[in-house]
């Protein structure tokens, strides 16, 4: 994998900073959430205890945070899943910063628009 980078030497190294910021934000989001999900799953499989009555699991963010402190295995898994879900949204936010850094005005506007639409859709769906 590493050897690809030396081959694809680009003309504009500036744009690559943007790509690296976005790629790194995605990678960290995936790695951290996968570790938390795996920890919760192993804990659940070893103890056989979800931390909740049968057929029940947390469905709200405050509840997940409250129960993670008590080491309930389903709450740990859910924390990881929520982080995974948040990763693409975080990626869009990180891209805005990257494009500002790159002084690429059209793309700062484009990416801000995408983030605004994402937030709007979250708000609209909540209202349902």
């Amino acid at each position: 994998m590493e050897n690809n980078e030396s081959k694809s030497v680009p003309k504009e190294s500036h744009a690559l900073v943007v790509e690296d910021i976005i790629s790194q934000s995605l990678r960290w989001g995936v790695v951290i959430s996968a570790i938390i999900i795996a920890a919760g799953l192993v804990f659940y499989l070893l103890t056989g205890d979800s931390g909740y009555p049968a057929g029940f699991f947390p469905t709200s963010i405050p509840q997940v945070f409250k129960d993670v402190v008590h080491f309930k295995s389903f709450a740990i898994i859910d924390l990881g899943l929520l982080l995974l879900i948040a990763t693409p949204i975080f990626r869009v936010a990180a891209s805005i910063i990257a494009f500002i850094f790159d002084r690429d005005r059209p793309y700062v506007v484009i990416t801000t628009y995408v983030l605004a639409m994402l937030i709007l859709s979250l708000l609209l769906r909540k209202a349902e």
């Binding site: 994998m1 690809n4 980078e5 081959k7 694809s8 680009p10 943007v18 790509e19 690296d20 976005i22 790629s23 790194q24 995605l26 990678r27 989001g29 995936v30 959430s33 996968a34 999900i37 795996a38 919760g40 799953l41 659940y44 499989l45 979800s50 699991f57 469905t59 709200s60 389903f74 898994i77 859910d78 990881g80 899943l81 929520l82 995974l84 879900i85 948040a86 990763t87 693409p88 949204i89 990626r91 869009v92 891209s95 059209p106 793309y107 484009i110 990416t111 628009y113 995408v114 639409m117 994402l118 709007l120 859709s121 979250l122 609209l124 769906r125 909540k126 349902e128």
Partner: protein, 274 residues
């Protein structure tokens, strides 16, 4: 059980990363047909798998400079706006008609993709005026061809329009829609197949993230099912990205055609049956 879900998800991750799809095409039948899991939880796990494939594969494809971030961002304007329109239209249009319309569009593209099955790289592409202005062009190093491949995009308005439609479907039907995204980039914008699937991978997570939060609140994302799916898909997507750079664009097309055919027939059946 967790092990079976995990293994099936690795496969879904590989296919998802190769083709720029969420992997729901594999996840949903494996969970419902083989493991008898409630369709509700299967769909919830499938949404998680879209995000896991997207983020996992995109991180690698961006590093390998195959994803075109600017094209992805530009087209995400269309998909996110479409998703909101779709959420509004929900009560107005019967999904039957939509399924049939989309089945026809997909059926047509299956044929078009089949005709182009031996095309390694797009030829004679005339750059759209916006392509220069918004940098909807680029180059990547192709390991198979052993050279740097430069490309530009055409049919920007058509591609943008199809992407908007893809967003509307996501909002209405709650599906990943990688298929429409790859199609828009391949058929209308004439990007190399690898760039299309990598860029689609980059995009699908964003629309899925918006719907995932509502699935979570609704209680459709079951931790015991979604956890092995997420982990399996992340591993599969990582393997898939290593495989994809070693495949020919023509091979990718040949894998894509039957998947396209399958999904269009499935949509047609849903539309007719209701």
């Amino acid at each position: 059980m967790a092990l079976l879900i995990f293994t099936g998800s690795i496969l879904a991750g590989i296919v998802g990363a190769l083709l720029g799809l969420g992997g729901g095409i594999i996840i949903i039948p494996v969970l419902t047909l083989l493991l008898n899991i409630d369709i509700r939880y299967a769909i919830g796990a499938s949404i998680v798998s879209v995000i896991a494939t997207s983020s996992g594969a995109a991180a690698a494809y961006i590093r390998d400079r195959i994803t075109n971030i600017r094209i992805g961002m530009f087209l995400e304007m269309a998909t996110t706006t479409g998703a909101i329109t779709g959420a509004y239209l929900g009560g107005l249009i019967s999904p039957h008609y939509l399924y049939i319309i989309f089945a026809v569009v997909l059926g047509y593209s299956t044929l078009a993709m089949f005709k182009r099955r031996n095309l390694e790289l797009p030829e004679g592409v005339v750059a759209h005026p916006l392509a220069k202005k918004l940098k909807l062009e680029g180059s990547y190093y192709d390991q198979v061809l052993n050279r740097q491949v430069a490309y530009t995009s055409t049919g920007v308005y058509e591609g943008f329009g199809i992407m908007y439609g893809a967003g509307v479907i996501s909002g209405l039907l709650g599906i990943g829609n990688g298929i429409f995204k790859v199609m828009a980039m391949d058929m209308f914008m004439k990007l190399p197949m690898k760039v299309s699937t990598a860029t689609s991978n980059f995009m699908i997570g964003v629309t899925a993230a918006a719907s995932a939060s509502i699935y979570f609140a609704r209680g459709d994302i079951h931790p015991a099912i979604a956890a092995p799916v997420a982990l399996g898909v992340v591993i599969g997507a990582t393997l898939g990205t290593r495989l994809m750079v070693r495949l020919r664009n023509t091979t990718l097309r040949k894998i894509f055609v039957p998947v396209l055919l399958y999904v269009s027939l499935q949509m047609l059946l849903k539309g007719l049956r209701g």
